[in-house]
Amino acid sequence: MNNQGNLLTVTPSPHLHSSNSIPAAMRDVIIALIPAFIASVYFFRISAVLVVVTCIVTAVVCEMAAQKLMKREVTVNDYSAVITGLLLALTLPATVPLWVAAIGAAVAIIIGKQLFGGLGNNIFNPALIGRAFLLASWPVATTGWVTPIDGVSTATPLGIIKESLGSELPNLTDMFIGNIAGCLGETSALALLLGALYLIYKKHIDWRIPTGYLATVFAITAVVGMTKGQGLSYPVFHLFAGGLMLGAFFMATDWVTTPVTKKGRVVFGIGCGLITVLIRLKGGYPEGVCYSILLMNTLAPLIDRYTKDRVFGGGKSHA
């Protein structure tokens, strides 16, 4: 073994080696989420830190325990559980009780991920499974929205529209920066876009999904906005409101649960956009990003099947 360095290494091709690895890619996603995390700490103060830490710690511990119990290789070092915990925390309001957040992280990792076979085998985005579970279980605890910084109870911009509360909608600048009520990580479109640009630059996420997603939401709400006589401010409001930015860039682009073909990714994004707008404008919930992505996750294999590229010289496409 000692003279290994002197030996001529003979290996079969391919010889090109990419430095890309699961931990490296996951680290980049964490880096991309840092602006959103900082924004959430700025707007929601210490409670944001507590929720994020609770979620991440629970997710990592559950991942370790589940993998030990199932006698699988323990892979907490690949950071994927950290991301799941962080993403879940960013979709919760600042007032969420910490034990609720912890249960969400446990459900996300154990039911959403490990029971399906671990990283790479899950059908649904684990963080969104955790959030959907919490929203259905403790509808009051998971919707205690507060204003940024002062922490006064209020409704989210989408909630104001849905319930026709009549209170004044925040202006678009505040919505872009994140100075509005909402989940920890979803309020600041600016911080999310910064992180998303980094991920697109590093080629970790495909621009097709978020573009298809955001363009669909924008197009439909633009038409609705015109019929309402509100012009362009209406679609822009919908782009910055709720969890759309967070969902479009960080959840609808999950490598595991979305289509792998280029055409398929466009279809996936458009589908998410359609369901989101449908829920926002016609559904019972004020926000539909979470459910739209979960529903489209179920369609990902089907989309892949029908958007496979034709093999060169392989005759007519079978799709």
Partner: protein, 200 residues
């Protein structure tokens, strides 16, 4: 096969819900409380027992080619009787089980037992088979509904459980909770079965 085995196979080795995966619809829909689970299990057992007895007695008279409609007529009669009895004497349970009482008619376990067992065996084994299968299904329903009621409502048989009653995980008594609970229980049972098979 001896009688004891005919009886006990329905409880564990051929448990209709956990092993044969039959009768899933009521098992997911009505298991929101232990009371429902027991009520459904009892109604089911009564129908299964009566239909097994009648099918077993008539097995030489029923023509082979139209046996399924004959079984259905027998089962539907007993379901109707059970439904009326429940409506008269347990109106609250009748209300909460709702459509799932008449749906016992199309429960594949009962038809399956008539087809696979009662139509080929004598009266006594058929009775034992019905009791075993009925008990097995009832136990399975109670297991699923216990998990769901404790976690989703914070009560057991309506008695509040300290610590859970204030903030139960509502989702467990909603439809998704049925799938989560049943899936987790099945996974655990399969794991136990595997361990048993390995140690043998």
């Amino acid at each position: 096969m001896n009688l004891a085995k005919t009886f006990s196979k329905g409880i564990i080795n051929e448990n209709p819900l956990f092993r044969l995966m039959l009768g899933m619809c009521p098992a997911l829909a009505i298991t929101t409380s232990v009371e429902n689970g027991i009520g459904m299990g009892m109604a089911f057992t009564a129908v299964l027992l009566a239909s097994n007895v009648v099918v077993s007695l008539l097995r030489r008279i029923i023509p082979e080619s139209i046996r399924i409609p004959c079984f259905i007529v027998v089962i539907a009669s007993f379901v109707t009787i059970t439904e009326m009895v429940m409506h008269a004497y347990a109106p609250a349970l009748f209300e909460s089980l709702g459509i799932f009482i008449p749906l016992i008619v199309v429960n594949c376990i009962i038809l399956g037992r008539a087809e696979a067992f009662a139509s080929k065996n004598g009266l006594v084994p058929s009775v034992m088979d019905a009791l075993g299968m009925g008990l097995g299904y009832t136990l399975a329903l109670v297991t699923v509904s216990a998990v769901r009621e404790v976690l989703g409502a914070g009560t057991f048989l309506g008695i509040p459980i300290i610590g859970l009653i204030d903030n139960p995980a509502l989702v467990m008594i909603l439809p998704p909770g049925g799938f989560i609970a049943l899936g987790c229980i099945l996974a655990l049972l399969n794991k136990m079965q595997q361990k048993k098979a390995q140690s043998n």
